[in-house]
Structures are given as C-alpha cells and as structure tokens.
C-alpha cells in the first residue's frame, strides 16, 4: 500500500474542470513534483491535498486512511506558500512555535523544537526578528521551519522558490533537497519551473490542462517523454512534424519534408494517424559535421554565448534547428558558416501527432 494515494481526483468549478481523473501514488519519504504551466490544475491538486478545496470526485488516502473527510487543520500537513504567508505580527520564533502551540506542546519542549527547527534552516540568530525586517530568502527559511517543526506527514511546497533571485534559488534548491533527505519527509512540490522540478524531485508528474500526462523520474521524463507536450515543456527541443515511411528491424525511417532519416520504432498511435508523428530531437544531441557530411545541411544563422555552452540557430531544409554545444575551447562554427548536422538515430524521439498548442 502506497503512503499517499490520489485516485480519480477531479475538481470542477462550475463549468470549468480544473483537475480531471488524477491518479498518483507517492511513497513514504519520496519527493514528487507536480509540474505544468499555469492553469494546468497543479495548484488545485495541492489545495485538495491540503484540504482547502473539496474534490468533486475521487479519493485521497494517507496510509489507507481517507483524507477527504478530515478537516484541513487535522491533516497534519506542512505547507510552504508561494508568498510564504508568515504571520507579520509575530516574531520568527513565534511564527515557528504557532503549530506547536496548536498541538498543545509543553512550553519547554516547544522552545527546544523551535530552536531545533531554526538551527535546521540556519536562522538561530534571528529568532526575535519580525518577518518585515528579513530578506526573501530568510522568510523562505522561516516558512520552511514553520512547516517542518510540526513533523508533518507530508510537506507541500507551493512554488516556494519563485520569488527568489536566480542565484539564491539555486542555493535554496540544494538546501531544500538536503533538508528533505535528512528529515525523510514525504514532499510534494508544485512548480512551473521544469529545471527546479528536475533538480529536486525523485519523480516529476507533468500536468497539462487538468490531466496527468506522465509520471517518471526526471531523467526518464526528459529522455523518453510520452507526449509532444512533455518533450517541449521539459527543456528545449527541436519539434518537427514528420511521417513514418517504413518500419525496419529495431526502428523506422521517417521523412520531414524532403529529408529522410533513421529513428527508433514509432509509437502505436502513428499507424492510426496515417504515419504522422512528431519528431523530437534535443539540441544537445545534435552534432556539427563538415559541410556536406551531415544528415542535413544548413547555415549557422545565429550564435549565443551562454557561458558553459553555445546555443546555435541553424537554418536547414527542416526549418530552424537549435543546437547546443558545450564550451570546450573555441567555438566550432562561425555565424553565417555552412555546416552539416548529424545525430545518433537512437536519440531521435517519435511521439504521437498533436496539433501544435
């Protein structure tokens, strides 16, 4: 029996369906991200787990116990809100102690646990401050300490890092992951930031238009997306519309416009759609060849230097392709130069055809 089980979870607001038939199981101690663009239903799902929204249909169980019937205040779930939602009229220590007070923990014990929680997020020195007098990163830590001090069954993180600047966000990601693993607390993160989801989670659950599209570990979801949406949403990709020409042993031959190349076996849906497929090739899997020696030929239209790598736009008969090359010495191709592009056929992904959203 899984630790947390969401089964057939559905939420409608009048005519609008926010979440539809959502199934997910989370194991104890696991870190799962609900990932998707805004309006995909991830926050509504979080609100239902927290108990702030009642599901229209479906069930939520924690170790086999029904959670839907339990009031939000009795669910024992720690939440870190996007706005942090600290109590502005209380000091840091009072903020953190609030949950323990509600649980009627004795003052001495309370004090000890507040100190412990503040030490966990390195804020012992600021216990007497008011939230107003703190930076965004510090408030974030207080919010985390306040959610963790009650030793929650589940920790819910609602876009917790989106209000921090890029550098601080990276630091907090590492710290958050460290704390989560040390405490072993089951964690669900809601985010629209795919790098954050991939960096932090054991598994990502990609949502699109209220539905769960794919649940997999980050590498699996990135390398083997099930749909066009997942492949475009996770990282960058070259998305091409193609047609399966013929199946071969262990793969097939696809055509994109006039160009044909080898690819792994097409998805089952391709046959029904007259062989139409979406061809996805990740920019970092594309390599340069001397002009005339590639699978396709093109001209480097633009080059952007991004520190650890270069991003090229190459004009080809297939359209403009993105190519990412590691910064390992001088740039391989100059802007305006003719160049051939090649890739390992095993790195090409064929996905069921969907009209571009």
């Amino acid at each position: 029996m899984a630790f947390l089980e969401l089964t057939g979870l559905t939420k409608r607001f009048g005519e609008v369906t926010a979440v539809e038939d959502f199934d997910l199981t989370v194991e104890r101690g696991e870190f799962v991200s609900l990932l998707g663009p805004s309006g995909c239903g991830k926050t509504t799902t979080l609100q239902m787990i927290a108990g702030f929204e009642q599901p229209t249909a479906g069930s939520i169980t924690l170790e086999g116990r029904d959670l839907v019937a339990v009031k939000a205040r009795n669910r024992g779930i720690g939440i870190v809100f996007q706005s942090y939602a600290l109590f502005p009229h209380m000091t840091v220590a009072q903020n953190v102690a609030f949950g323990l007070e509600m649980r009627k923990v004795a003052p001495a014990e309370r004090q000890r646990r507040v100190e412990q929680a503040l030490a966990l997020v390195h804020l012992e020195a600021l216990a007497g401050r008011y939230p107003r007098a703190m930076s965004g990163g510090q408030r974030q830590r207080v919010a985390l300490a306040r959610a963790l001090v009650i030793e929650p069954e589940i920790l819910l993180l609602d876009e917790p890092l989106s209000n921090l600047d890029a550098k601080l966000r990276e630091e907090m990601q590492l710290e958050l992951r460290g704390i989560q693993q040390r405490m072993g607390v089951t964690t669900i993160l809601v985010t629209h930031d795919q790098t954050e989801a991939m960096a932090l989670s054991d598994r990502v659950a990609v949502m699109h238009r209220g539905r769960l599209v794919q649940v997999a570990d980050p590498l699996q979801a990135y390398e083997n997306p099930l749909t066009d949406f997942v492949s475009s949403f996770l990282g960058k990709t070259n998305r091409l519309e193609g047609r399966v020409l013929e199946r071969q042993s262990g793969g097939c031959r696809v055509a994109v416009g006039e160009t044909t190349f080898e690819a792994p076996p097409p998805p089952d849906e391709a046959a029904a759609g007259g062989g139409r497929v979406i061809v996805s090739i990740r920019p970092e899997k594309v390599e340069f060849r001397p002009a005339g020696a590639g699978l396709v030929e093109g001209r480097a239209a633009a080059r952007i230097f991004l520190g650890d790598h270069w991003l090229y736009q190459v004009e080809t008969p297939l359209g403009v392709l993105l190519v990412i090359r590691q910064n390992a010495g001088p740039a391989e191709v100059e802007t305006g130069g003719s160049v051939g592009l090649a890739w390992d056929p095993a790195q090409v992904r064929l996905l069921p055809y969907e009209a571009q959203a």
């Binding site: 205040r73 502005p88 009229h89 959610a147």
Partner: protein, 284 residues
C-alpha cells in the same frame, strides 16, 4: 512663467477654499473666545482668559465634557466590537453577496444624519415602536425610558458611525495575505483561533484608525445628541449651540468650542503616537 511658483499657483484654488472656509472662521472663533460678554452691552472687545477660566472651573461644564467623552468612548468601543467582525464577514463573503451587503452597510451614509436620528426617535420614544411593542406583548407595564438618555444617544451614534469602522477595518483586511489564514489552518488552528490570533492582529491598524475617526466624530457630533438628548442630556456641541443661539454669549460658546477642538486633537495625536510606536516594527 513655470518655476518655483507653479506648485503654489496650481494649488491656489484649493488653498483659497481651505483658508476661506476653515482657517478664517476658526481664527475668528479663536479671537472671539477671548472677548467678554455683557448682558446689556453685548460683545466687548477686551482680551482676557475669563471665559476659559469660567469653563475650566465650573463643575457644570466638567460634567458636560465628561459625558461627551464618555459617550464617544463607549460608542467607539461598541463600533469596534461590532464593526470588526462585520468587516471580516463581508471580507469572507462570496463576491455576489458581498457587494449587496456592503451597500447595506454603507447605505446609511447616503441618508442625512438628522433623518436617521429622527428614525431612532420614533423607535425609542415612550410611545415609540419598541416600547409600544413590548407593552402590547405585556412584557413591560410602563415604558422603558430611552429618549433623552445617554444610552439612547450611544445607540444612535453607533448606528451612524459604524460604516466608518467597517470601511477602515475592511481596508486593513484587504492588505493582509489571505494565505496567512490557510497557513494557520494547516498548522492546526480552528476558526476562532485564526480570527483572534491571525486575522485580528493584522487588522488592528484598521481597527485603531477606525476608532480614531469614530471617536472624533462622536465627540463633536451635534445632530444625534441634539435630537435624542435634547436639553436634558447636554453634550459639548449642544452646549456651544445653546451659548451661541439661546444665551447669545458668543465668546463663552467660542471658548467651549476651542476647548473641545483642543481636547479632541490631544486625544487623536496621543492615540496616533501610541499606535505608531506599537506597530512601527511590525507593519512599518
């Protein structure tokens, strides 16, 4: 010639209005309060503090001032006690109901204070609606005296003043992060705890500024105490009125008016100080 006079020129109309309608009459009242009044001679343009000494040393005026500030204080407390939960209910309501009920709360402001107070007179009189109903139901044998009492004045003033409190608290509630209530709930707090430990403290600046408005308006209210208190329950503003129009002792009336102004100002300034010191580090 745009230059450093431009801001003055642009605010000149408003300044002229302000000076003509507020500063000049106030200044003239101030000067008037130092003149003397003779029963046969009328206003004499002497300058001394006799009027102030009269008021400050007379038990009769002490009682009137005490009654006025007592009424204002009780009205303020009642407005805070009723208006704060009222604003919170409105804040939590679905938007469809909210706009309708907000109109109900603020609606009385659209009706003249005199009309509203006369309405209360109809309700509170010895042969008013309330007493007649209670007697017809045989719950009481003789009417309860409500007209011409401080209690009656307080009831009517609370009704007049409550929109100011609701609006002030409402504004404060809208400044707070709604997620703080959810945060408290997820930490195990029930509805009452959330209200008293999380919502109310954050709304406190609104309650306090609302109190300031209600107190100063109640202390200087005229129509309500004049109609419901009459000559029997005098407050400062009705006393000033009587001095001006019945006794015709304008200088004494002016002195009482100045004392009321100073007293209300003192209360406001010290209250503001207190509030600012308390909340500076929390809300800033």
């Amino acid at each position: 010639m745009p230059g450093r006079f431009a801001p003055w020129l642009m605010s000149a109309p408003a300044l002229a209005l302000f000076v003509a309608l507020l500063l000049v009459p106030l200044g003239m009242t101030f000067v008037l309060s130092f003149h003397a009044f003779g029963f046969y001679t009328g206003i004499e343009t002497t300058v001394d503090l006799a009027n102030y000494i009269d008021v400050l040393s007379d038990g009769y005026f002490h009682e009137i001032f005490a009654r006025t500030f007592g009424i204002a204080l009780v009205t303020t407390l009642l407005c805070a006690a009723i208006g704060t939960p009222e604003a919170y209910f409105l804040y939590r309501m679905r938007s469809r109901w909210r706009s309708a009920l907000l109109l109900v709360v603020i609606g009385p402001l659209l009706i003249s204070v005199v009309v509203r107070t006369l309405g209360w007179a109809i309700l509170l009189g010895n042969r008013g609606v309330i007493n007649t109903a209670l007697m017809d139901l045989e719950l009481i044998t003789r009417p309860i005296k409500m007209m011409y009492t401080t209690g009656g004045i307080v009831i009517a003033l609370v009704h007049v003043m409550i929109p100011f409190m609701v609006i002030a608290v409402w504004a404060a509630l809208h400044r707070q992060d709604p997620a703080t209530e959810q945060a408290a709930e997820s930490l195990g707090a029930g509805p009452a705890t959330i209200f008293f430990r999380v919502v109310l403290p954050q709304a406190m600046p609104g309650v306090l500024s609302g109190s300031l408005i209600v107190f100063s308006l109640s202390a200087s209210a005229f129509a309500t105490p004049a109609i419901l208190g009459g000559r029997r329950v005098k407050v400062v503003s009705t006393t000033v009125y009587d001095e001006f129009l019945n006794t015709l002792n304008w200088p004494l009336g002016a002195a009482i008016a100045m004392l009321l102004l100073v007293a209300v100002l003192l209360v406001m300034v010290s209250w503001n100080r207190l509030v600012e010191r308390r909340f500076a580090q929390v809300f800033g």
